[in-house]
Amino acid sequence: MEHRLKTPISKEDVAALRAGDLVWISGTVYTARDRVHALLASGEDLPIDLAGAVIYHCGPLIRDGIVLSAGPTTSGRVGRFTREVVDLGVRLIVGKGGISEDAEALRGRGAYLAYPGGCGALAARKLSVRRLYLPDLGMAEGLWELEAEGWGPMIVAIDSFGRDLYREARRSEMRS
């Protein structure tokens, strides 16, 4: 099934997503990777409202306010903060490689979407810069507020019902 979603993301939006579905996003997307998650976990107040938000595991390449390349970074490094992120209201997490060890934090509340890793030039065509928070963290680690316009497709890789395509791929390993 295909879903064209606008931010903020509602509970009903999340509940309609099933593993394997395709999603396109329009609206506000916040980048967050190692440093922003570390701040978040230390209880620091972030300068943004995350209710219904989409978080993108990404450290973009940006020049003069233009997004040149902005594919996902490996989600596994920040997966252990999933519960904290969802507690703040985040409903969709976009990244690559999955957060299988921490997927339980999404149950009934959020979903994980896979955007193809390395496809930075492709993603950049649908993303523009609104502003940069925490500029001291630098280009890769800073918190960018991006505007997405029909950005996708991404694949629902972990849904809010506990189905996880990464685990299923690993289970098929064990059968072989």
């Binding site: 440093r35 390449l61 490689g97 630098g138 791929a169």
Partner: protein, 276 residues
Amino acid sequence: MRREDLVCATVAVLAEAETVLPSWVEEAIREAADRETSPIARSQLSAILENIRIAAEGGVPLCQDTGLPVFCLEIGRDLPIPPFLEEAIAEGVRLATDEVPLRPNAVDPLTRKNSGDNTGPGMPDLIIDLVPGDCLRITAFPKGAGSENGSFLAMLNPADDPLSFVAEEVAKRAGRACAPVFVGVGIGGTFDLAARLAKRALLHMPGTSQMDRNLLTEINRIGTGPMGLGGDTTALAVRIETALCHTASLPVAVNLQCWANRSSSATVRDDGWSID
């Protein structure tokens, strides 16, 4: 050799490596997309092919992770080694960071402070080989973190089976390393020689021996698939390089490379330089 030639060649090979994939790499991805039976896996491979086209047409980096600056230098034995060798390449990296542009990725490992221009202690990383002749061949091999983080080294017991070990570990790690991956394997040598063999195996891709092909088949049989979402294509190529090791040791190192197996080479001569 003129310093400015080496600086210009460095900028040119980095710019090309970041924006245009070697044609054999793109061809390997295209063939995998044609063979792939999983619809989700096919969608990942077709996005990758579209990304390759957009990056080349727009002259923009394929991936926002423009990597750490790694170079292979093949230095002719008849070439007087220029005193500016390392410094001119570092200058090229600084210029390329501004001009291509590259994302500033290099940070101090403890303070995490970013140097801002991808150079500093240990960077750029230069892998030096001595070869016949009187030229310098410089290959840019920018290395992203996703695939470096998935790389590994183990000191196995001589009784262990190194190839099964590699297949199982690669299948476990490839999803987070932007599979379909290229797998550089170093078997033997010492602790650090095994790692160098693995990186050189990537530089000498693709592998063509029977052992390379068998390991590739074994990795792909496990079904991790593109981006770890399941499928037939976990790895695109494998190359194994070996060296003698101690009779009591079995070092095994694997250096993974993401599907974006970026590289570009130029030759610098006495009187100028050109892209290979």
